[in-house]
C-alpha cells in the first residue's frame, strides 16, 4: 500500500470531495498539495476533505491546508474537514487550527457548512 492514497470527485452541488488515507507527512504532502491546486485550477474552491483514515499528519501535511484555505476563502469557498482522525485533530489542536478550520461529522453537514 502506498504511504498516502488519495481520491477525489466533483459533487453535484459545486463542492469537491477529497479523501485521504495513510500518512500525510513530509514525504507525501506534495501529492495532496498538487491535488488541491488542480481542483482550484478548475475554479472549484469548496472542498470537503475526509481525513478519517489518515493515521499520521505532520506540520508538512497540515501546512498544505494552511496554505490552501486562504486562496479558497478569497474565492468564496472554504475547506471543511470531514471526520478527521484523532491524530489529525490533535495536530490541528497543537497548531491552533481547530479554531480556524471547519469540521463536520457527516457529508450532509459538511455541504451545509458552506
Amino acid at each position: 500500500m502506498p504511504d498516502l492514497k488519495l481520491s477525489s470527485r466533483a459533487m453535484a452541488n459545486g463542492c469537491f470531495y477529497l479523501e485521504a488515507q495513510g500518512f500525510l507527512d513530509a514525504h507525501t504532502y506534495e501529492d495532496m498539495d498538487r491535488l488541491i491546486q488542480n481542483i482550484f485550477a478548475r475554479n472549484c474552491y469548496r472542498l470537503i476533505i475526509k481525513l478519517e483514515r489518515v493515521d499520521y499528519i505532520s506540520s508538512a501535511g497540515a501546512g498544505v491546508f494552511v496554505g490552501a484555505i486562504g486562496e479558497s476563502q478569497q474565492n468564496g469557498g472554504n475547506l471543511v474537514f470531514l471526520s478527521p482522525s484523532s491524530n489529525v485533530r490533535e495536530v490541528f489542536d497543537l497548531l491552533g487550527l481547530s479554531q480556524i478550520f471547519l469540521f463536520a461529522d457527516t457529508l450532509e453537514q459538511a455541504v451545509r457548512s458552506f
Binding site: D3, F23, D25, A26, H27, D33, Y56, S58, S59, A60, A62, G63, V64, V66, G67, A68, I69, G70, E71, N87, E90, V91, L94, L95, G96, L97, I100
Partner: protein, 144 residues
C-alpha cells in the same frame, strides 16, 4: 538506561521508518499513549527539517540517538550538512500563514510545544546537533 542509534539517508521516504522505530523504542516507556504520539510527531518534524535543509540536493547521513533513562527521553539528531540554525524561539502567527498562503515553518513550533527542551549546537564530530528532551510523567510532576 536504554539507547538506540538510527542512521538514515536524508530522504523523506525514511521518515516513516524512523517513526516506526521510535514508536517501538518508547512503547514500553511510562509515557502515556497520547504523549508517545506527540513525541513521534516532534522527532519526525526535527528529522524532516534536516532532510529538507541540511544537505541541499546532496545525499547525506542523519544519525538519530534515542536515550531513555529513569528521568527522561533524550533524542539527538545529528548531520554533517550546512550550518542550519532554525528559529527556536519565536512562535509563528498562524493567521499570517493563512493570509500569505505559507505552508511551511510550523515544525519547530510543534517540536517546542511537545518537548520540554529543544536546543541546537555544533559539535566537532557533527556539523549540526539537535537535542530534544521529554521528561517522564513522574519527573514532570516533581519538577513542576
Amino acid at each position: 538506561m536504554h539507547q538506540q542509534v538510527l542512521r538514515i539517508i536524508n530522504e523523506t521516504k525514511n521518515l516513516s521508518l524512523v517513526r516506526k522505530s521510535l514508536s517501538k523504542f518508547i512503547e514500553e516507556s511510562p509515557f502515556p499513549r497520547d504523549s508517545r504520539n506527540r513525541i513521534i510527531l516532534a522527532v519526525d518534524e526535527a528529522i524532516a527539517n534536516v532532510v529538507e535543509h541540511a544537505y541541499g540536493s546532496e545525499k547525506g547521513l542523519i544519525q538519530i540517538t534515542l536515550t531513555l533513562d529513569d528521568e527522561k527521553l533524550t533524542v539527538g539528531v545529528c548531520d554533517h550538512g550546512s550550518d542550519f540554525k532554525p528559529n527556536v524561539k519565536e512562535d509563528p502567527d498562524i493567521n499570517v500563514h493563512i493570509r500569505l498562503g505559507l505552508k511551511g515553518g510550523l515544525g519547530m513550533f510543534l517540536m517546542r510545544r511537545v518537548m520540554d527542551e529543544v536546543s541546537y549546537s555544533a559539535t566537532p564530530q557533527y556539523q549540526n546537533q539537535l537535542s530534544m528532551i521529554k521528561f517522564l510523567p513522574q519527573s514532570e510532576s516533581e519538577n513542576s
